[in-house]
């Protein structure tokens, strides 16, 4: 299982990356992350919503109330321009961390 600090830090870039594919909603975002990580990135489901609301407040994403397949109200989120820029920045930073770690790991086997 991945440490909770890392799970928390990865929440925003993951949400941005998922919404970059198109509009989505809380439950679908969580299921997408769980499926892609093979269940190793395990969010406390309810914690996603304050994250989404905070991102919306910061102007990274926007929301609208729509209808689900069953006719119930459902809140959909989509990426805004600032969100795309933030996603690029996150990607650069996470790539850098990954590159440094990969480089250090490679040196251990030289």
């Amino acid at each position: 299982m991945i440490r909770k600090e890392l799970v928390a830090a990865s929440a925003e870039p993951l949400v941005l990356a998922i919404l970059a594919k198109g509009e989505s909603y809380g439950y679908a975002i969580i299921q997408d992350v769980k499926a892609r990580s093979g269940g190793k990135l395990n969010w406390t489901d309810g914690m996603l919503y304050p994250v989404l609301h905070r991102m919306e407040r910061r102007g990274l994403i926007k929301s609208r109330w729509g209808e689900s397949e069953t006719g119930r109200k459902r809140k959909y989120y989509s990426l805004k321009k600032d969100g795309k820029a933030a996603m690029t920045k996150h990607h650069e930073q996470w790539s850098l961390v990954h590159a440094v770690l990969a480089g250090l790991k490679k040196e251990q086997y030289v």
């Binding site: 809380g26 919503y49 407040r57 119930r72 809140k75």
Partner: protein
């Protein structure tokens, strides 16, 4: 969850989430009770969620103060525009016109760059409280200006008829002070954002 203080729109979102999770678990073959209990456990403890939602709500308090500040600015701007034609009156000399331009420029600059002079308060509640207090002071200031300063000092010293420009300039100055005070909340938020950006 409602008892925990989570606001209704967020509650509706959490309820939808819970319903969808229960349905998914039921489709996987779980009994209704088990599906419900597992979904509730997965959504997380109400106290923890309340804490997280409150953090967002606190930020909204700051937004409200900012909006009130902007409303003040809009009102002050509107009345300033109403008296702006007075400065084109032939009786108005160049000095009041120059001061009028300076006052407007200083107000605009205070909204644009004033945050650099303000402390970066980390606590959003404190930022909201200071911003709201400044809005209240701005209201009191306008009331004091109209009730006491205008009749007692401005009209007596400046004189209404002889120096038209100075009379309206005093209004512009009063609006500017109110606008600057109302901009403190906006400035504090900007100062905090700048500090956070530097820290990041």
């Amino acid at each position: 969850m409602r008892a925990a203080g989570i606001v209704p729109p967020s509650l509706a979102e959490l309820e939808n989430h819970l319903r969808e999770d229960i349905q998914r678990r039921r489709r996987l073959g779980l009994e209704a009770d088990k599906a419900f209990n597992d979904a509730v456990a997965a959504i997380g403890p109400a106290a923890v969620l309340e804490r997280e939602f409150q953090k967002v709500e606190r930020s909204r308090a700051v937004t409200v103060v900012n909006l009130v500040g902007i409303a003040f600015l809009a009102i002050a701007g509107f009345f300033s525009l109403m008296i702006a034609p007075k400065f084109f009156h032939p009786m108005v000399g160049p000095a009041p016109r120059l001061f009028a331009v300076m006052i407007v420029a200083m107000t605009a600059l205070s909204w644009r760059y004033g945050y650099r002079l303000l402390p970066a308060l980390a606590n959003p509640w404190l930022r909201a409280a200071v911003g709201a207090s400044c809005c209240v002071v701005a209201m009191i200031w306008m009331r004091c200006f109209v009730l006491y300063l205008l009749p007692e000092i401005v009209i007596r010293i400046i004189g209404r008829d002889t120096l038209l420009g100075w009379y309206f300039l005093s209004f512009l100055g009063a609006f500017a002070i109110a606008a600057v005070l109302a901009g403190v909340g906006h400035g504090l938020e900007k100062a905090a954002r700048e500090r956070k950006a530097v820290a990041d």
